[in-house]
């Protein structure tokens, strides 16, 4: 697991107040929404804020979100390619 993957899991647990969850309980390819972690629409907005705050990425097309926030793997991949910090 890369440092970015672990960092993302930590940030998600902290930002989304998933207090009953540990880093090692989130699989890299697990769906973040729906049947996986069960995140909701407000969590999606928090993830958009997280991308901008921590990695300087501003999502201009909301439709991108569905693909980017599919899993930790897809988030990490998108961040690697687009981060400005």
């Amino acid at each position: 697991m890369s440092d970015l993957h672990t960092e993302l899991k930590r940030s998600i647990i902290e930002q989304l107040n998933l207090e009953d969850m540990e880093v090692n309980e989130i699989e890299n390819d697990e769906q973040l929404f729906g049947d996986g972690l069960g995140l909701d629409s407000i969590d999606a907005l928090e993830l958009i804020v997280l991308l901008e705050k921590d990695y300087g990425i501003k999502l201009t097309d909301p439709n991108q979100g569905k693909q980017i926030f599919n899993s930790i793997n897809t988030m990490a991949d998108y961040i690697e390619k687009n981060r400005t910090r």
């Binding site: 989304l16 107040n17 207090e19 009953d20 069960g38 407000i42 907005l45 928090e46 804020v49 901008e52």
Partner: protein, 201 residues
């Protein structure tokens, strides 16, 4: 003529203590911080409801008080919710305004209305009933009494959960009580004050 109503059960939460029907139910005086107190109380109740951790402290107070009052299940899905407080959701408003200086938090914004607490309770117990949230300077027993009575008299409900859930500067005052057509304690202002006042200074 209005019918005779009863206070069926009550819960008080103050100073890291929980009283159920006048008896000490839970105490955690080692946790002066409300967030830690609410987390420990949740664990002690063995509730499994991960959305609890996403709520603001005001909603957590109303939510967990309701869990204790009803033993985790409001059976009567027509139970109306009549709530109120003095400080609205000022604590959360403050936290939210702090985030506005950089990145406004969507999850905090959701809780910048005090009646969101009623939504959380309704979702948890699948209630689609009447609900209202009053803001008044201090606990006003007659306000709760008259409004609840009118719901019964108009045939809008046959069970009411009332709640005074106030939070200001880490200081919380929670009084929840269930009004029904049966019970041991007559519903009147005097009885409400008797239950509310003893541990309240």
């Amino acid at each position: 003529m209005s019918e005779v109503l009863y206070i069926k059960n009550s819960v008080l939460i103050r100073d890291a203590k929980v009283y159920q029907n006048g008896r000490l139910y839970y105490e955690d005086t080692k946790s002066p911080d409300i967030s830690i107190f609410l987390k420990n109380l949740y664990k002690s109740e063995k509730i499994r409801y991960s959305k609890y951790f996403k709520m603001d402290d005001l909603s957590k107070l109303g939510f967990i008080g309701t869990e204790i009052l009803f033993g985790g299940n409001i059976e009567n899905k027509e139970t109306a919710l009549v709530f109120g407080n003095a400080a609205s959701c000022l604590e959360t408003d403050r936290y939210y305004s702090e985030t506005m200086e950089e990145f406004p938090s969507p999850s905090l914004f959701v809780y910048t209305l005090p009646n969101i607490m009623l939504g959380e309770i309704s979702i948890r117990h699948q209630l689609r009933s009447e609900n209202i949230f009053f803001i008044s300077e201090k606990f006003d027993s007659s306000l709760f009494l008259e409004y609840s009575k009118s719901l019964f008299n108009q045939g809008k409900t046959d069970n009411v959960l009332c709640g005074w859930v106030d939070l200001q500067n880490n200081d919380y005052d929670v009084f929840l009580w269930e009004i029904a057509r049966s019970g041991k304690t007559y519903l009147n202002e005097e009885e409400l004050k008797n239950i509310y006042l003893p541990t309240h200074e």
